[in-house]
């Protein structure tokens, strides 16, 4: 079990029961209640089979039950390994080519149960849970479904402290803890029925929603639907993009933060939005080397504090760069990046190649809008919230979920109170992207003790201002978006340092030694253990080295937090500039010197049916530009995932080939959302 995370700064490592299972005849161990995919990764198995078209290696991709790239044969039946719990003595086999028809025992036939609810919430993430709380408060008969075994959605995967405001969205609390809190709250309402392990398959025209509830098919007839199904990750075209070991941030975080598996030793990240930046931070927390990160734009799209955090710890961020190709035979062995010009074309001569075993794709999200469209077609009143409505932070999802919940409650029961205008105002702020970046405005004061705020970009975040016991940190203008300022009295409690999600506040204490004041830094990478007396290479906000200093004291912030406060002494000339210290050695990010062993020319758009960009481009150049005709000819979009990844990529190619956007027809979408065994529709689970 060499790829288990045995120590984590944030996540508790609990004793788990070992489960023996077989992989292609060899005995391995997983943990109780763990998905097969994670058990395999924990045992170093990353290739789960080979595609029946062309034999390319298959492995994890979404880890979210949406695609089928991680399929394995479980006791004779083809299953998604990311959605199937490992059981004792299970015989798991790789899928080599087309699988055989699974054999069956006795089948049952019974009626499908039909149920009625006032409200159906699809998705138990931050938005869905927040809406359910409102509906529960107003005693509205609601069914909340989620396809996972644990509520919280992607909050479950978030080990970092949240932004937003404390009062509205638990800012400063870690995502996974927020998820637990919300999930706990909705259990207090008897009117809320919760179905975990339940996937909505389609909102049918006859106003019934087909749901696979713990493997039993049911039909639910709601008056109102709230689509809180979140978002899916976008994929990217580049040569070699279908090698095993290339997958999304969601899959990565699922393996690392939910299942405590270390899926990679050397990670490279594509995408400098918050998702990619945070995933890089999570990787460091899990003891994974982060070789580098590329971002196509001249600046990272994510919050500056997230990018700064990564850079300070020693991860190079290559802006105006993109992936040229992934190299490898079956799994990725190295990645070649290059600079790109303003038209996103690679600049010759700027290629750099790095060894890595995993490439994480974090190039944006798109709303899971199907259920909204289907409900509208069926004529069911439907609202959406969270990422299903618009892509934003979880703090925003919680807030607009809350609004949607109350709105629905009012539609069902006109006596429900009006939604306060302040909620809408707050929702607007929370969904805002990062605003302006300002220059440092460091105080000249060199006496007493005071916080130094290294937060230079307007983001919707304010917990520092709410924890300060002397109310000396505040926003000058907008109470959330504005930059925090310190003015007044600092008692040196360190609360602001510990709470800041961006790890962007330090304390400088001149009281004992004005020449060499004590600097207090937040730290949460305990895999790289820092002890008193250690020499650490301190850096400024951008990661520039300021010198090596020895740690004089370490304080653990236990309450709800697990951030360490590291103290050291530095000369007054630089004390205010120190934000953090490097932990990752420069060698990690060195370019590859040896030759590339394996390369691939295949630039895949449809991973399910193995359709390349060239296949599509050739058709377009031959006059075939209707996406549904491209689908008919190439089968792109006809695979198990249902065009969830290729739709965007094909549209990109169409646009690049000069097909006007307004002429691109929508890809026809049909039931079902995920594949379901035929027998499930024949048996409603009643005897």
């Amino acid at each position: 079990m060499g790829n288990r995370i045995i120590e984590h700064p944030i996540l508790p490592i609990l004793e788990r029961e070992k489960i023996p299972f077989y992989w292609n005849g060899t005995k391995y161990f997983g943990f109780k209640n763990e998905m097969i995919s994670s058990a395999l990764f924990a045992n170093g198995i990353k290739v789960f089979g080979h595609h029946h078209k062309g034999g390319s290696a298959q492995g994890i991709f979404c880890a979210n039950g949406q695609c089928a790239k991680c399929s394995v044969i479980v006791d004779g039946v083809l299953m998604k390994s990311c959605m199937t719990i490992v059981k004792p003595e299970m015989k798991v086999e790789s899928v080599e080519g087309l699988p055989k028809l699974p054999q069956t025992g006795k089948h049952k036939i019974s009626e499908i149960e039909e149920l009625e609810y006032d409200v159906l919430i699809i998705g138990g993430g931050p938005a869905g849970l927040s809406a359910a709380i409102q509906l529960g408060k107003h005693k509205i008969k609601t069914l909340l479904i989620d396809d996972k075994g644990e509520l919280g959605g992607k909050l479950v995967l978030q080990t970092h402290k949240f932004f937003g405001s404390q009062e509205d969205s638990f800012a400063g609390t870690r995502g996974n803890e927020i998820g637990k809190k919300l999930a706990q709250q909705i259990t207090e309402f008897p009117e809320i029925t919760i179905w975990k392990n339940s996937t909505a398959l389609f909102v049918f025209k006859d106003k019934k929603v087909g749901i696979l509830n713990n493997d039993i098919y049911k039909l639910v007839k709601p008056k109102i639907i709230l689509n809180a199904a979140g978002a899916r990750e976008k994929f990217l075209r580049f040569k070699g993009n279908s090698l095993a070991g290339i997958y999304g941030a969601g899959a990565f975080q699922t393996l690392v933060n939910r299942d405590l598996v270390r899926p990679t030793k050397r990670l490279f990240i594509v995408g400098g939005g918050n998702v990619g930046l945070i995933a890089g931070y999570h990787a460091l927390q899990a003891g994974i080397e982060v070789v580098g990160l590329v971002e196509a734009m001249p600046k990272c799209g994510g919050y500056k504090v997230h990018a700064d955090k990564l850079a300070r710890l020693g991860v190079p961020i290559y802006t105006s760069h993109s992936v040229l190709q992934a190299n490898g035979k079956e799994t990725i062995e190295s990645v070649t990046i290059s600079q790109i010009d303003d038209k996103f074309n690679p600049v010759k001569g700027t290629e750099k190649t790095f060894d890595c075993d995993t490439l994480l794709i974090a190039v944006g999200l798109e709303s899971v809008s199907e259920f909204t469209d289907e409900a509208e077609t069926a004529g069911i009143r439907v609202l959406s919230a969270g990422d299903a409505k618009e892509i934003a932070e979880a703090s925003s999802a919680m807030f607009n979920g809350k609004i949607a919940g109350l709105k629905i409650a009012k539609e069902i029961d006109p006596n429900v109170e009006k939604i306060p205008q302040s909620w809408f105002d707050k929702a607007e702020i929370l969904k805002k992207e990062a605003g302006k970046t300002y220059d440092y405005n460091i105080t000249e004061i060199e006496e007493g003790i005071l916080p130094i705020i290294h937060c230079l970009q307007e983001i919707p975040c304010n917990p520092c201002s709410t924890v300060c016991p002397t109310n000396s940190i505040f926003m000058k203008g907008d109470p959330i978006m504005d930059l925090p300022h310190f003015e007044g009295k600092c008692i040196g409690c360190g609360k602001c340092v510990a709470v800041c999600p961006g790890l962007a506040i330090t304390l400088v204490d001149y009281r004992k030694n004005a020449e060499n004041p004590t600097v207090t830094l937040p730290y949460e990478i305990s895999n790289h253990k820092v002890l008193v007396g250690d020499e650490v290479r301190c850096v400024d906000i951008d990661g520039k080295e300021l010198g090596t200093f020895s740690v004089t004291q370490i304080l653990d912030v236990k309450v709800n937090n697990r951030t360490q406060l590291i103290k050291l002494k530095a000369h007054k000339n630089i004390a205010k500039k120190i934000v953090s210290f490097q932990i990752q050695k420069a060698e990690v990010s060195q370019q590859k010197e040896t030759e590339i062993q394996h390369t691939s020319d295949e630039e895949m758009v449809c991973l399910c049916e193995r359709v390349t960009a060239k296949d599509v481009r050739d058709l377009v150049r031959n006059g075939v530009s209707d996406i549904n005709q491209i689908k008919a000819i190439t089968r792109a979009g006809m695979g198990p995932c249902g065009a969830k990844s290729c739709d965007n990529l094909i549209k990109q190619i169409l646009r690049r080939e000069g097909v006007p956007n307004e002429e691109i027809e929508p890809n026809t979408r049909r039931p079902v959302f995920v594949e379901v065994p035929l027998g499930k529709f024949a048996d409603g689970g009643k005897i």
Binding site: H52, A68, V77, L78, L98, P99, K100, L101, P102, Q103, T104, K106, H107, I109, I112, F202, F204, K205, D206, K208, G210, Y217, L219, T377, A378, G623, V624, D626, N628, Q629, A632, I633, R635, M638, P640, G642, E665, R670, P671, V672, E675, V676, P677, L678, G679, K680, F681, A682, G684
Partner: protein, 383 residues
């Protein structure tokens, strides 16, 4: 105004192979369709079965021609359209069905079709795992088969382009100008065209196109739903047609296609009229119950996608193909009753011969069954 030899309204199962047949014969052809590309209405919803084992001379003749075209396409032109001679089978679970099928076989044999009666044991070999309880035997016609509707129509389309056929997509025919009992102009929402001959191959919209000219075509679409599973290794060969009607549905049928996917559809009873193609919650449980009872092995096979399409039905279950008496330059090729895909290529050849006045006596005999001016009181015995 652009002028053509033939304008075909509808780039579907009938229109596209017809365009190919005509273009091959050096006719200047224009095909007009409101959709964005070929086969976007009911063609892509066909499950792909192609059989000659009907009970009527006309359908048999036309389908035989179609099978010839489908089965030799790859050899002739190189593109794989997924043709497989996997055969059709009709298992009988009651004596009455056995009698019915055997009586039909007599007619089919009289037309020289290759169809035989096989024992339950033989059938089990062909479809391993099929329910054998009360199985009386089955018909099996090994020369029937299947091909991918998606690949086939695109292959026909590409080939027709090579022969010079033209297409206008996203153009809707809004009017047909009649002068002296003849269509003088085909008017679309974007332009207008003229042609010596106009063919109405408008599928679901056949009746509306007729109405533009003041003629009544008794074509009423009814809806059917279909689905496809994940692919697995081949585990049975022929199309299986379960002809037993039960409450809510008449027959249903399925086969394993060239990709290894099981593809199936069911005939609702009573029929659901209209062209609404949005899926309903009724279909999956209805068809799944019947399929896993008949063939329990299918229970673990995952359903990938479902869809809904229409059979443009005529009162007697036979297509309407032939020259119009009211409009001198109009040919109708409508009301395919769910068999447009398998009849299309054969009909394309026949209609091209109508256009060019090249019909043989045998062709004329075949077309009798589809005569637009028949009384529509009969009913096909074996749909």
């Amino acid at each position: 105004m652009k002028t053509f030899d033939v304008i075909i309204i509808g780039a579907g199962s009938v229109g596209v192979p017809l365009a190919l047949s005509l273009a091959e014969r050096k006719q200047k052809v224009l095909v007009i369709d409101a959709c964005a590309s070929v086969g976007q209405e009911n063609n892509k919803k066909a499950i792909g079965g192609i059989r000659a084992t009907h009970s009527d001379f006309g359908k048999i003749k036309v389908s035989q021609k179609s099978i010839e075209i489908f089965s030799t396409w790859q050899e002739k032109y190189g593109d794989d359209i997924g043709w497989m001679a996997n055969g059709y089978s009709f298992p009988a679970y009651t004596e009455a069905d056995e009698t019915k099928l055997k009586n039909l076989m007599k007619i089919q044999h009289s037309f020289g079709l290759n169809i035989e009666w096989i024992s339950p044991e033989e059938y089990e070999k062909l479809v391993p795992g099929i329910c054998v309880e009360n199985l009386q035997g089955a018909t099996y016609s090994p020369n029937d088969g299947s091909a991918s509707p998606l690949l086939a129509i695109n292959a026909f389309y590409q080939k027709s382009l090579e022969f010079g056929a033209e297409y206008k997509f996203k153009e809707k025919v809004v009017d047909l100008k009649i002068v002296n009992g003849e269509i003088s102009q085909v008017i679309t929402d974007k332009s207008e065209y003229s042609a010596k001959i106009v063919v109405n191959a408008a599928g679901n919209n056949a009746k509306e196109i007729g109405e533009l000219m003041g003629i009544n075509l008794p074509v009423i679409p009814d809806s059917h739903e279909g689905a496809i599973t994940e692919p697995v290794e081949r585990f049975f060969e022929p199309m299986v047609v379960d002809m037993r009607p039960i409450k809510g549905s008449a027959n249903y049928y399925f086969y394993q296609n060239n990709e290894g996917q099981v593809i199936f559809c069911i005939t609702p009873s009573p029929p659901i009229f209209g062209t609404d193609s949005d899926s309903t919650s009724t279909f999956l449980p209805q068809v799944a119950k019947r399929m896993v009872q008949l063939f329990p092995k299918l229970a673990n096979l995952k359903v990938r996608r479902t869809w809904r399409g229409q059979y443009p039905m005529t009162p007697d279950g036979f297509p309407i193909v032939g020259k119009s008496r009211e409009i001198s330059n109009l040919i109708n090729a409508v009301g395919m009753c769910g068999q447009g895909y398998m009849l299309g290529p054969g009909l394309g050849e026949l209609i091209a011969k109508i256009v060019l006045n090249e019909l043989s006596e045998d062709d004329k005999k075949a077309l009798k069954s589809f005569d637009p001016y028949r009384d529509f009181t009969g009913m096909e015995a074996f749909k």
